[in-house]
Symmetry: C3
Subunit: 142 residues, 3 copies
């Protein structure tokens, strides 16, 4: 019997490429829901944040921040800024490039991640935000 469950994670972020490991909170939802086999779709609502996976260690986090700053710099003016004056054109572009959704299989009640692979929320906005991430579980319960 397949079930669909929709859960939420909220994160207070600092903006400017704040990178937060949300793997633990996703695992908690899977455990509480008792999903043994299935998958989880993770989605961040909002056009200045994104999701991907990475080995979440300080060196790589710094590398990722320097990568986005180099190719989509925060200190130049974008057409979006000319029109709307909120100065976060860079935030939108970065979010569109990385994308808002991620789908991960669940096997034997566990996320099918590699040992050094964590799910991260990337908040690219130019101010602190309260982010809502949707964790949608589809699968068979115990």
């Amino acid at each position: 019997m397949i079930t669909i469950l929709t859960k939420k994670i909220t994160e207070a972020t600092a903006g400017f490429c704040d990178i937060i490991d949300i793997t633990g909170k996703i695992k908690e939802h899977i455990e509480q829901a008792n999903i043994r086999a299935g998958m989880v779709t993770i989605f961040v609502s909002g056009s200045t944040a994104a999701l991907t996976t990475i080995e979440h260690e300080p060196g790589l986090i710094q590398d990722l921040k320097e990568f986005v700053e180099k190719y989509i710099p925060s200190n130049r003016r974008y057409h979006h800024d000319d029109r709307w004056g909120d100065d976060n054109g860079f935030s939108h572009l970065r979010a569109s490039l990385f994308g808002p959704s991620l789908t991960i299989p669940i096997e034997n009640g566990a996320l099918s991640l590699g040992t050094w692979q964590q799910v991260i929320l990337l908040d690219f906005d130019n101010r602190p935000r309260k982010r809502e991430i949707i964790v949608q579980l589809i699968g068979e319960r115990e």
Copy 2:
């Protein structure tokens, strides 16, 4: 009772990074199908188009076009062009970078998008195309 429904959207595109907001057409399919809780997978068939989300306003659309033109320019020659002579190596690379699929949760019959977040089709090909986008709904009907 979980149901799977497969719907289509077609779009006539101009090519060369034509960016089209398809959010309204996805919402219509969800409403017609009466899916209350579940998710939608959106997929574009073809290797020169992609999907992502963005705030669909003219400034950002221009920013996104300039971004892809800067890093994957249309006016140089690619190995793909040498082999196949169709001069759209840049189109393929851009499509692979952004990716062809997107999965979005549905809650209370509505897409879980942010207020300023729209789903866009990016057609990177070097000529007008008729594109088919698959909208696959999985969920519980009313």
Copy 3:
């Protein structure tokens, strides 16, 4: 009646942006499982590999390799390398950019890919690896 099935693909890779077409192996799993309508989620475990689609021909494969080498070069030092000494900071960054998951609809027992669109595994690590790709099928069986 909706079913969930979890299958595996293994690939021996050479590393350094080894790009492998896994479309045939995904199709085999769909045929063996007799899924007529549904979708497949493909996920690579590990933080130095990724998935996307492309027209898998030697010219474009070379273009894609040159693209990642230009913007995330393998011959410079990353903060990750300073901390961990495994010299594959570039591998991690590339993998995070392309992402580990892909979802593709299945219609009439076939993947909804375009004619020139194949699913590829990108192994960005700096050494040969044995990769495990999860192929998760959700749908109605014949």
